[in-house]
Each structure stands twice: as structure tokens, then as C-alpha cells.
């Protein structure tokens, strides 16, 4: 392993579990770089002055800065450098769509493969965790208190940033474990829960007080939190309400929302039933409706839970699928079959259980407002597929509880909270919001980006600057 003068055009290959093996376990698929690989990959960085990569990062990580430290083999220094702006590097290194963000802007990508920034971020974060995370020095505590509602990516980011500034932060989580979608949604084989726990331990180590089993809107309203002495509130409650298609047969046994399917599997560990008490039902044939990352996660969980045939049913073509290319590739490698340009029209039942799915074929017409070609149903093309389980992965809407119980919070389309995109300030003074509750379902990192802006705005607000 010597440094070559000419830069390699291709990135270091990350080892993964073989598809035939991994489809029978919930262990992590991607195995990460070795130290040699990380250094060799870091050697490819051009260290551009203008840092186009950092400009593509929603939380503005100093990417060339941490890459340089990897080159110098100062891995812990590299981790600290990332944590200056990103509190959850082990998570982002695994689930960020880097190809759409930092890596998309990498100059190396013009003539070859862009630098594997995500993999390097993951490497240093994992190395730091193995060595024992060193806590940053905490500032003098401030006398102002902030309540953070929801402990997903947005809430965790706000909590960490404000704790680092010395504010007293209490984070409220409705479920029994913190992490939001990181814990209930994204499966173990893509994001091990021990990793999430490690990152949350770090945030609690910063002094954040975590209250689980606390559903704001029921146990306390936003107004009661304000009356209780919180000087500002951040709402990061996500898009938790699953959408259904409103087709006949959706309430048959064997039909799940992706949220339920993934929550049973990941949060409740149904894949270890009966060691864990929560069951899940997966027959021989499973259909997952939708083409996003959640659909891929559901399909891959179904395989691991023992389904023999798993179909992704998506009404557009593969090109339009919102899932990351890597996720589609992993799913297909594992045996998931893509059934494109078709959608279910009804679910056929027998004795209360799913028996089959009736689908109709589509063709692509003119581009719609999203710029993607609109799928048009082909008359008379209906066909029937025998099925035991159907998982609806067609998106989520915001949970209305907070807006219903806080009269002066304005809501928009599908119940999202209206908030200033630059500060997260809602229509209620002192109350900020960010992540999926504002944008509708999006990515982990965009929620973190919104959290970062909101934390800065809350800091300014509490100092009386704005």
C-alpha cells in the first residue's frame, strides 16, 4: 500500500456481506473500510480550496479538513473535526445520500469516481467509538431552558447543538427508545441500533435530559411546556402517519403499513420472536408497494423474515424510483423482484386474509409537475398476483397531534407545520420546527440540516438578537 503519484480514478471498494449470506441475517450489510483502505482513499482527495464538497453538505462539514487528518492517520482528530458540525457521523456515514450531496460536487467525479466521503466519515466515526468517545469541554451552563419534542435526526441535532452552547435541554420522545426513524424505521442491517445508541449516548453526555414515554400533545401541550418555564421549543416530530392507497381490501389481515412492518421488525425486534414478544407475519409471497428507501427496507426485511418471493411494485420505471441507487442494487442482489410500471387496484381476500393482489399496468406519459413522466394506466391490463403479505410504503403524513393541541401553530399542505426555512420559526413565538414535520417525508440529513439552522436561530432568540 504505497501512495502513487497518479491518483486512482476508482474508489476503494468497501466489503459487504455476500447477498446469499446476508439475506439470512440482520447483521450489517456493508462492512466498512480497513485503516489501510481509509488512508488510501483519503490520498485521492485533491484538497480543493473552494471545498465544493462541503457546500453540498446540509450541515456544512469541513470535509477536506477531516480527510486530511485521515491522511495523517489522526483518526480521532478527524472525528472531532466532523463533530464540529455534525453530531451523528456514524449514522450519516451510513444513511446519507452522499451521491446527491457532497460526493456529487467532488471534482474527482468529473474524470472518475468521486471521493468516498460517506465511507470515510463512517470509518472515522466507528474508529472513534471503538476507542471511546472523548466528550468536548462543556461551556458554562446558561439559565435558559429548551424543550425538544421528538428525538429523531432533527431533534437530536438541535438538542446537541444547544447543549454544546450551555442551554438546559430536555428532549421528549413518545416511544420507549430515542432515535425516531433511526430506531424504528431504518433496519439493523443498514444502520445497527448499537450505532444509533452510541450517538445518542454522546448527546446525552453533553447534558441533554431525555424523557421517553412522553407524548407531547397528550401528557403536556406545547403551551404547558412554555408555561412550565421552557424559554423555547423545537418540534421535530417527523412524518409519522402512514398513508394508505384507499383501495378495496386494505384492512385485510396481512396488509401492513411500512411503518408498522418496520416498527415491528426493528424497534420491537420481531425478527427475534419469540425471544422478543412482538410477532410479525410474513408469508411466502410479499408485495411492497412504493419505490422509495422505505420500500427497499421493507422488502429486504421481508426476505430476512423468511419470505420466499418479494416484489417491489412501483407505478413508474426504475429511473424514477426515489430510493438510492445503492439501496435498489442491494435489494435486487438479494433477490427482490422489481415489478415496475404497475400499481395495485385492489387486494383480494379469503377468510379475512390477503390472498392476491390485483394490479394494473402503466405506461409513461408526459412529464408532471415533479419533472418525472406521469404514469398512465393501460385500460384492461389488470392482472392478479397471489400474495400473502402486502406492505404499503407510499409515504407518511405529519402526525396532527401537536397542531391539533396548539391552536396558534399554522399548518400547510397535509398538515405540515408552517416554518421559516432559514430559522425554523413557526407562527408561534419561541416555537421552532424542522425536519419531516415541516417538509413532509425527506431524508435524515435534511432534517439534521434544518435542526442545525433552528438551533442557531434559537440561540439568537434566547440571546435577544432576533
Amino acid at each position: 500500500m504505497t501512495t502513487k503519484k497518479t491518483r486512482k480514478k476508482t474508489r476503494e471498494v468497501m466489503q459487504t456481506q455476500q447477498p446469499k449470506v446476508r439475506v439470512h441475517n440482520f447483521d450489517e450489510v456493508a462492512l466498512g473500510y480497513t485503516e489501510e483502505q481509509a488512508v488510501a482513499e483519503a490520498e485521492r482527495c485533491l484538497n480543493c480550496k473552494k471545498k465544493p464538497c462541503s457546500n453540498g453538505c446540509p450541515v456544512g462539514v469541513d470535509i477536506p479538513g477531516f480527510i486530511e487528518l485521515i491522511r495523517e492517520k489522526d483518526f480521532l482528530g478527524a472525528a472531532k473535526k466532523i463533530k464540529e458540525s455534525n453530531n451523528l457521523p456514524a449514522i450519516c456515514g451510513r444513511v446519507c445520500p452522499q451521491e446527491e450531496q457532497c460526493e456529487k460536487n467532488c471534482i474527482l467525479g468529473k474524470k472518475g469516481e468521486p471521493l468516498a466521503i460517506g465511507r470515510l466519515e463512517r470509518f472515522v466515526a466507528d474508529r472513534e467509538r471503538e476507542c471511546g468517545v472523548e466528550m468536548p469541554p462543556l461551556p458554562e451552563p446558561q439559565d435558559k431552558k429548551v424543550a425538544v419534542v421528538g428525538s429523531g435526526p432533527a431533534g437530536l441535532t438541535v438538542a446537541a447543538d444547544l447543549a454544546k452552547l450551555g442551554y438546559g435541554v430536555t428532549m421528549f420522545e413518545a416511544l420507549h427508545d430515542p432515535g425516531g426513524v433511526l430506531i424504528y424505521g431504518i433496519p439493523q442491517f443498514r444502520l445497527p441500533k448499537e450505532i444509533v445508541k452510541g450517538e445518542i449516548d454522546y448527546i446525552q453526555g453533553l447534558g441533554v435530559d431525555l424523557k421517553v414515554d412522553s407524548l407531547i400533545g397528550r401528557i403536556q401541550s406545547v403551551d404547558e411546556l412554555l408555561a412550565d418555564g421552557y424559554d423555547a421549543i423545537f418540534i421535530g416530530t417527523g412524518a409519522g402517519l402512514p398513508n394508505f392507497m384507499d383501495i378495496p381490501g386494505e384492512n385485510l389481515n396481512g396488509v401492513y403499513s411500512a411503518n408498522e412492518f418496520l416498527t415491528r421488525t426493528n424497534l420491537m425486534k420481531a425478527y427475534q420472536f419469540p425471544e422478543y414478544d412482538t410477532p410479525i407475519k410474513v408469508g411466502k409471497r410479499t408485495a411492497v408497494i412504493g419505490g422509495g428507501n422505505v420500500a427497499m427496507d421493507s422488502a429486504r426485511c421481508a426476505l430476512r423474515l423468511g419470505a420466499k418471493e418479494v416484489y417491489i411494485i412501483y407505478r413508474r420505471s426504475e429511473k424514477e424510483m426515489p430510493a438510492r441507487a445503492e439501496e435498489i442494487e442491494h435489494a435486487v442482489e438479494e433477490g427482490v423482484k422489481l415489478k415496475l410500471l404497475c400499481a395495485p387496484t385492489r387486494i383480494i381476500g379469503e377468510d379475512g386474509w390477503v390472498k392476491a393482489l390485483e394490479c394494473i399496468n402503466f405506461e409513461l406519459g408526459e412529464a408532471d409537475e415533479s419533472g418525472r413522466r406521469r404514469p398512465v394506466p393501460i385500460k384492461g391490463s389488470e392482472f392478479i398476483m397471489e400474495m400473502d403479505t402486502v406492505v404499503m410504503a407510499i409515504g407518511n403524513s405529519p402526525n396532527p397531534l401537536i397542531s391539533q393541541t396548539t391552536p396558534d401553530l399554522k399548518t400547510g399542505w397535509r398538515g405540515v407545520l408552517v416554518a421559516d426555512p432559514e430559522t425554523g420559526l413557526t407562527t408561534k413565538p419561541g416555537v421552532y420546527a424542522g425536519g419531516d414535520i415541516v417538509t413532509g417525508a425527506a431524508t435524515v440529513i435534511s432534517a439534521m440540516g434544518a435542526g442545525k439552522k433552528a438551533a442557531a436561530a434559537i440561540d439568537r432568540y434566547l440571546k435577544g438578537d432576533s
Binding site: 407524548l215 403536556q220 402512514p242 384492512n251 408498522e260 415491528r264 410477532p279 377468510d351
Partner: protein, 278 residues
């Protein structure tokens, strides 16, 4: 952790637990529920709130031992703790002065009907209550129900207490007697609630039932608890648990409750084996 302050056997299979949860007790209202998890490997169990004490800061739950989780919960003693206790969840019951209200509780459903009957009574309603059980030994909350009712009717399947028959027999008599009834509230096994709904439909009497479908999170996230109500699908956890009985598709609800029959059996057997070994 949430400590069990009091535990009582209401019958050989029906247990009452009073649990210290001051924040929930402060907010709980009739008709709402909690979700509890006994330990780290436990499932999330929804339970309707049977009572709340704002001064003592406790929530009372009443449950029947049917599966693995309730069997395990029943092994806990006063002073033991439960790992997770989330609530109050769901919409509170619509309490106001309707006039004359009939409150019906069947089996373990007598527990959640009690705070509703009490609230209706406090709101100025004349409350007539009907409670039923398989036999006298399975009957509980007679005193409590009596204290909030103008009349309390008791029925048992075997006639060992009160009248022999079903709660709907009494309801039928009341309806046929021509008595003016403004509201019926029924909680119990699904077939009982369905029978009540069928009876009152013809009389056009507003009828509420409280549903307990299978659910996971209880906060609107999983949609596992969806029930067909009229033309639409509702989530019992956030839209309910109370619904207009005349709109509910009870047959579908019955089917959905059977979804994990096999797994419930497996889980119980697994637990018994582990306990024998351990």
C-alpha cells in the same frame, strides 16, 4: 420505571393494578388508554384506563390474563415496576349531559366503562348501568358501578348472580319498555358490542363503543389499529378508541383481532418452557 402501588385479584383471571404515574394521572380522562411494556423484550400492550387518581398520582388498569404478556404482567407484585408506561392516549370520551345514559360493561369491559359512567353521572346524566360476566366470581366493580348509577342491572351467563342471560337481554327490555334513552355506551367483547349496536340501531339511539384492536405504538404511527367506520378507515389510537357503534364494521374487527392467534400461542408456550427450565 413505574411502580405498582397496589395489586388486587378481581377474580381468578382478572387483575387490578394501580400504578404510580403522576404525570399521566394529571391528564387522564375517561375513555383514554395507556400503553405499557413490562421489560426490554416485552411487547407494547394497550390498556384502557380503568381509573385515575390525580391526588395520589396513580393510574388503575384492569386486565384479564389471556396471553403471554398478561400472564407475565400478572406475576408482578406490589412494589415491582413496569419499564414503560405511556399515556394518556386516544381521544377522551364525549362527556356531556345527554339526559338518560345506559352504560354497559361486559367481562373485563366493566373496568373501562366505570370512569365513563362516573363522568356521565357527574355531568348530570341519569345513568343506568348493565354489567355482565360469565359468573359471579368473574364479576367486579359492583359497588363502584352502583355508586354512579341510578339503577344497576347485573347479569351472569349461569345466573349465579343477578339475572341469567346477556347484557343485551336487559337492554332489550329497557328499549321495549319505551323508556326514553338518549345514549348507550358499551364496552366489552366485540360480539357483545356488535349486538348492542344492532339493538339500538332500530331505535336511533346514539351509541358509542370503545374498541381495542391490535396496535403497536398507540400514537398514530403504525396504522395497525385501523378499523372501518362508515366509509372510511380510522386509526383507533388517535381517532378513537370511542366510535359511533352504528358505523363500525365489527366483523372486520373480529377478523383483525385474530391476526396473531398462532403467534400468541407460540409465545405462551415458549414462555412456559423457559419458565420451567429457569
Amino acid at each position: 420505571m413505574y411502580r405498582i402501588i397496589e395489586k388486587k385479584d378481581l377474580s381468578s383471571t382478572i387483575k387490578l393494578m394501580r400504578i404510580a404515574a403522576p404525570e399521566i394521572a394529571k391528564k387522564a380522562q375517561a375513555g383514554q388508554f395507556v400503553i405499557l411494556r413490562i421489560h426490554n423484550h416485552g411487547e407494547r400492550i394497550p390498556m384502557t384506563i380503568a381509573d385515575y387518581d390525580r391526588v395520589q398520582g396513580t393510574i388503575t388498569i384492569v386486565f384479564q390474563v389471556v396471553g403471554k404478556s398478561t400472564e407475565e404482567l400478572a406475576t408482578l407484585k406490589e412494589g415491582d415496576s413496569i419499564l414503560n408506561f405511556l399515556g394518556p392516549l386516544g381521544q377522551p370520551s364525549e362527556i356531556k349531559n345527554y339526559g338518560k345514559a345506559v352504560c354497559i360493561g361486559g367481562g373485563v369491559g366493566v373496568a373501562p366503562i366505570y370512569p365513563i359512567a362516573r363522568s356521565l353521572h357527574e355531568a348530570g346524566n341519569k345513568v343506568i348501568s348493565i354489567i355482565g360476566a360469565r359468573n359471579d366470581k368473574m364479576l367486579f366493580y359492583k359497588e363502584e358501578m352502583n355508586s354512579v348509577s341510578e339503577h344497576l342491572h347485573i347479569v351472569t351467563d349461569d345466573g349465579s348472580r343477578g339475572k341469567q342471560g346477556l347484557v343485551t337481554d336487559i337492554l332489550c327490555d329497557l328499549l321495549e319498555s319505551g323508556e326514553q334513552i338518549d345514549l348507550v355506551f358499551a364496552i366489552g367483547p366485540v360480539p357483545m358490542m356488535r349486538a348492542v349496536a344492532e339493538l339500538t340501531r332500530g331505535y336511533g339511539i346514539k351509541t358509542f363503543v370503545s374498541l381495542n384492536p391490535i396496535m403497536v405504538d398507540g400514537t398514530g404511527m403504525c396504522g395497525g389499529c385501523r378499523v372501518s367506520v362508515g366509509e372510511t378507515s380510522k386509526f383507533a389510537c388517535i381517532d378513537g378508541p370511542d366510535f359511533d357503534a352504528h358505523q363500525v364494521d365489527f366483523d372486520q374487527l373480529l377478523e383483525r383481532q385474530k391476526m396473531y392467534c398462532q403467534e400468541e400461542q407460540d409465545s405462551k408456550e415458549h414462555w412456559h418452557q423457559c419458565n420451567c427450565r429457569g
